[in-house]
């Protein structure tokens, strides 16, 4: 801690913020990594946070309607370095997403950019909504 000249109200605000951070961290750990799932008419799209991950650290598998996202990496400190703070997750993760729509298995695609992994799973033609023309 360091000396600072603040009012009691600022101190209370600081304590509140610090406690929020603790809860945020705890939540972040229990659902690591955070993902988004979107549905459009044509596809299911999944977005995964993967900052600092390289393509070879990640593994995607679709088996029987279950998408498994696996990640494993080592956070190695630079040479001669002493660790002062360590928050970046380094244990392996495995996340499963159950997909209930029929997918077009031929045109699945995934892309890793700026530490975000985006997966696109196009729906099979028979699973897409169809307009029926009335004669």
């Amino acid at each position: 801690m360091y000396w600072s000249f603040t009012t009691p109200f600022q101190e209370i605000e600081n304590i509140r913020r610090q406690m929020n951070e603790v809860f945020q961290q705890y939540n972040a750990q229990s659902q690591y990594p955070p993902i988004n799932i979107y549905e459009t008419e044509q596809a299911i799209e999944i977005l995964v946070e993967a900052p600092g991950y390289q393509r070879e650290d990640l593994d995607l598998q679709l088996d029987n309607g279950v998408l498994t996202i696996k990640g494993k990496r080592e956070v190695t400190p630079p040479e001669q370095a002493v660790i002062l703070r360590k928050e970046r997750a380094e244990k392996a993760f495995e996340k499963k997403v159950q997909l209930t729509t029929d997918l077009d298995m031929e045109s699945l695609s995934a892309e890793l950019q700026q530490g975000l992994l985006s997966i696109r799973l196009p729906k099979a033609a028979r699973a897409q909504a169809k307009q029926i023309a009335i004669q």
Partner: protein, 132 residues
């Protein structure tokens, strides 16, 4: 009506970076190391591009990081799960007075920001040669 219009024009003059504060931002996970010559910070900023990062060392040697994740999804997509942290990132690091403010390097790669700050000459270890 008039007041609303005025407010909107006022907001436009403020850059997005100055609006980022701990209250409206995520706190990025960070590893901090120190080597004999440098301090190294590894900050996770998923989805952030180079131009979205604002780094500043204040006069009190506090490193202030403000970053913006510009990721947006089309509004016609139905959101089923939403956990990815989009929007702002903010974090401040107290550097102490042993750092050399003039030699700071920052590199953003695959959503990971690495900041290397050199220590001042007087704060580095010095080898003493024993004579005689």
């Amino acid at each position: 009506m008039n007041t609303i219009v005025k407010k909107e024009t006022e907001n436009k003059e403020v850059s997005t970076e100055t609006l980022i504060s701990p209250e409206n931002a995520h706190r990025p996970q960070t590893n901090i190391y120190h080597t004999p010559e440098t301090y190294i910070l590894e900050i996770e900023l998923p989805g952030v591009h180079n131009e979205g990062v604002d780094l500043e060392i204040t006069e009190k040697n506090i490193l202030v990081l403000k970053a913006r994740n510009a990721y947006t999804h089309d509004s016609d997509k139905k959101v089923l799960v939403s956990q990815v942290r989009t929007g702002n990132f903010y974090r401040a690091f107290e550097l102490g007075d042993q750092v050399d403010r003039e030699s700071v390097e920052a590199r953003l790669e695959a959503g990971l920001l690495t900041v290397t700050i050199a220590k001042q000459e007087k704060a580095r270890p010095k080898r003493i040669v024993v004579s005689g």
